[in-house]
Point group: C2
Chain length 300, copies 2
């Protein structure tokens, strides 16, 4: 099925003999013929993304265990020499750290999308596993994102291209989100829901927090804003969903966003969890996504 | 001079008994009286920021050497347990990694601004030391930023606050930039210039590159855009300047941006440097800023 290989949306790529994926430090040579890149990454079916290197290392270890791929070897960070992002490969799954927010994630995403194109991966799926602030849900609830909302409460993503404002729709793949939810409901002992996700450019003022270095609004203003979000079906706030959904949709690659909520923003701004609670909560997206991947690879 | 302690722009901070700076994992208890935070950080005069942990570790080592503060002890990453940002303290200087782009840097910046406020630091100066793409300058040139330009070629920064577009001016401290330039000219054997800096939300489409996962413009369109930038006095492109200059200016803290250019975008999109060249270039902002700090601390 050659049509299931991502072709992306850039005709210039066909003309490039070499493409140095600078930030993940992977050099793609002679991308038009069978290459080393196909041999190294052609089997990739899932690209998992998360904020920190530590969490993606833990995810790689977890997936290696549940997919029974533990050969006893050390997990190697393929992109360590790039000094910015960590990339681990566990069989057909990549686990990649993207840092905090859209700008850092977009750099990685462009390069990983090119990687799966050059490697001729068959219908790869990109899934972000993150942490977030909940809106009207109990801390620990896992939210599978339906649509992304930007800071202006619009279901879209704005990006400045050559000085002009370009607006792209910010929707995740509906079938993938539903499949993830159905699997989760069958095996998870905690709340997993479908909801919209607001992506903010800023953790403090951008999310209506009262505890940033700058704030010129009141508690009442904040609560009115969070209420508006709730009415639009937003159940969590993080810093990536609109860029992630809009770029993957634009280039024709399926994607999902699965985030646990660390607090309920209707009750406060600060994260107050014990180390044990935080570890328990952070494990939840691993379990939701891990079981789905296991089931997909086994053809269930 | 109590007026030289940063007061920032958030009246809510006065009412907080505790403030947990979540992403750098520093807990500020009872921030209104003399505290542990003042004892630990009250001597800080300079907050240096850069993209990667490795680079900030190297900067901390370099500063420790030239400021003659090397006591033989290991450099400790104060925020290691936060898993996101690295923070090293070398006498009166903090060296902090912010990741790639405005969203990740803004999280750190809000928390560091609150830190210098709680610690009652006297007139602290924030300086970013980065890498960038040059516009019409020889690779290796160091650009000290005058004004920040956003992706719409405007000297401002947009941020969504409670659903509304808030626009703030994006200017760096003029005297600080001039002082840095004058010092650099007196001791650097390479080009150091003052110029405007464009900050993009995206490394690929946001900077007019032809080699992203998505691109629907031509080489001629790109060159016309870069020419427009050049005519506005923009000499380099990175991903932080507008957020950094606008937030620091807004809360009344002096800041500067000192970036080396790794390529000349008028000649191409990809970074093609040897490891040695890259190390040499990355050292240049260290030297420009390090000599300035040394001179400031010695009262020259």
């Amino acid at each position: 099925m050659p049509e299931s290989i991502p072709i992306l949306k850039n005709p210039h790529l066909d003309a490039m003999e070499n493409d140095y994926l600078y930030h993940i430090n992977i050099n793609v040579v002679n991308s038009r013929s069978a290459t080393d890149i196909e041999r190294r990454f052609g089997d990739v079916k899932f690209v998992c993304l998360g904020g920190t290197k530590n969490r993606m290392f833990a995810l790689a270890k977890y997936l290696r265990h549940i997919l029974q791929l533990d050969n006893g070897e050390e997990l190697v960070d393929i992109s360590e020499s790039g000094n910015r992002y960590a990339v681990y490969k566990v069989g057909p799954v990549l686990c990649c750290s993207h840092g905090v927010g859209m700008s850092t994630m977009s750099v990685l995403l462009h390069e990983l999308l090119k990687l799966v194109r050059y490697a001729k991966c068959q219908d790869p799926v990109f899934i972000r596993l993150g942490t977030s602030g909940g809106v009207g849900v109990t801390p620990g609830t896992v939210v599978i994102s339906k649509d992304g909302y930007n800071g202006y409460l619009r279901n879209e993503h704005e990006v400045a291209i050559l000085g002009k404002r370009v607006v792209r729709p910010a929707n995740f793949d509906e079938k993938l989100a539903n499949d993830l939810l159905r699997h989760a409901k069958s095996h998870c002992g905690y709340d997993v829901i479908m909801g919209n996700t607001m992506a903010a450019e800023c953790f403090y003022e951008g999310q209506g927090r009262l505890d940033g270095a700058s704030c010129d609004y009141s508690e009442a203003d904040k609560m009115a804003f969070l209420q508006q979000l709730y009415e639009k079906g937003v159940r969590n706030i993080e810093m990536e969903a609109t860029m992630f959904s809009s770029l993957t949709k634009h280039v024709g690659v399926r994607a999902a966003d699965v985030c646990v909520t660390l607090l309920n923003r209707l009750h406060g701004d600060q994260v107050n969890l014990t180390k044990e609670q935080k570890e328990d909560f952070e494990q939840r997206p691993f379990s939701v996504v891990g079981e789905y991947i296991k089931s997909s690879l086994c053809g269930n």
